[in-house]
């Protein structure tokens, strides 16, 4: 690994350690929810990272359609996978938080439901990548990536409207709850740490995909020179 990358990884590990310590010990205990609320420091940053990953996927997909660059496709693949991972974290931490606090595992509120739909869309994206035949995989996946992302704001708006019609408990204290400055502080540290982790994971996956692409290209060179199969 290049020294700069190694330095970044170490930095991120340290940062993660620090922010976790902050989240678990330094942040003040929440009034009504108690210690369970600390999961918020994992829940929300994960959602943020997932969102950014999917945005990257959207841009990479468009780039692939326009330029047919295999690097763009590799980035799309990597960001989708990492995005799904973080999205899964959101979906798991959500119920864990909700159960002790509100007494229910799940609620169809706007944010959690949108996350679920997002998760479904990108899992279907990953499945398409696996099942598409040969050379069109990249193009088909790029198309689906674009559709998926365009859908997200529509999904969010629909569910919000649905919820104003049929209200139900909202997790995380509603849309506009403020944050105590001390908590905000810890939250931002965690946000930074998670973002760095996200960058590292995506970058590694991206490198892996590019290596795979290079391997394919090498096979292709051999096939051209040698026997054709």
């Amino acid at each position: 690994m290049k020294p700069l990358s190694l330095a970044f990884v170490l930095f991120t590990l340290a940062l993660l350690g620090f922010s976790t310590y902050q989240a678990l010990f330094v942040a003040p205990t929440e009034q009504t929810m108690g210690d369970v609320q600390r999961i918020f420091y994992y829940h929300v940053p994960s959602a943020w990272v997932a969102g950014v990953c999917f945005l990257v996927n959207f841009v990479a997909s468009i780039a692939y359609i326009l330029k047919r660059s295999s690097n763009a496709d590799a980035l799309a693949a990597a960001s989708a996978e990492v995005g799904v991972v973080f999205c899964t974290i959101v979906l798991i931490t959500g119920p864990i938080w909700a159960r002790p606090v509100w007494g229910i595992w799940w609620t169809w509120d706007a944010r959690l439901t949108t996350t679920l739909v997002l998760w479904l869309i990108y899992v279907s994206y990953l499945i398409l990548r696996r099942f598409a035949a040969g050379s069109q995989t990249h193009l088909l996946a790029a198309v689906l990536g674009i559709f998926g992302f365009v859908d997200v704001p529509i999904v969010y708006m629909s569910i919000r409207w649905f919820r104003t019609q049929h209200p139900s408990p909202v997790m995380g204290g509603g849309e506009n709850s403020g944050l105590d400055p001390a908590m905000l502080h810890v939250f931002l540290w965690n946000l930074l740490a998670f973002t760095c982790v996200g960058i590292i994971l995506t970058a590694s996956r991206y490198r892996l995909q590019r290596l795979e692409n290079e391997l394919e290209a090498e096979h292709a060179r051999l096939a051209l020179a040698g026997g054709g199969r």
Binding site: G134, S135, L224
Partner: protein, 218 residues
Amino acid sequence: MVKFFGRFAALRGVSASFAPGKLYVIVGDNGAGKSTLLRVIAGLIELSQGSVTLLGAPTAREVAHRIGYMGHAPLLYDELDGMENLRYFAGLYGLHNDSVCREGMRRVGLDPDLERRVGQYSQGMRQRLSLARAVLHDPELILLDEPFSNVDVHSARDMAAILGGVRDQGKTIFVVTHQTALMEQVADEFIHMSAGKIESRRPVKPLRVAANTAGVDR
């Protein structure tokens, strides 16, 4: 030109140029890349590397109305009859003239008033209708993939003569076939392909037979 299907290199570096107004016959073993080459020229396949220039244009799409293609499969709708098929495809080329379709069917020896669905045609009839569809819009460049498969000897000879006549009118024709003997009389050049490459090209002196000797009343 290079074309990969997954890990299989169907075309491994084909580089060639072809003159207009000639009848080229492409031969070779199965898997040599003959059909792939034809489809690349037709614009149905995107190359992994390389490019094709035809009729002065960088892509086949730009000159689509001047290209005719007959594939390995019939490229016809089984549920429609002969004229309905031709009428539909003629419409895709902007031709809304019934007589063109009727004439096209007659030229390949089929009855335009036959209301039988193509699904119930014999193989030979289907091949002939597919050929009619390919040349309906009077293209300058004609690409035929195994036009003689499952066609009886008489019809095949007729078709070969028709192709010669069409070439004489100044069209360029590429034919992929295993039946080299049939084409000896009319071909301008034989192109031998193997394992995704062009192995050799053999010019031939064709006998210029008069265009209308083929009887088409079958």
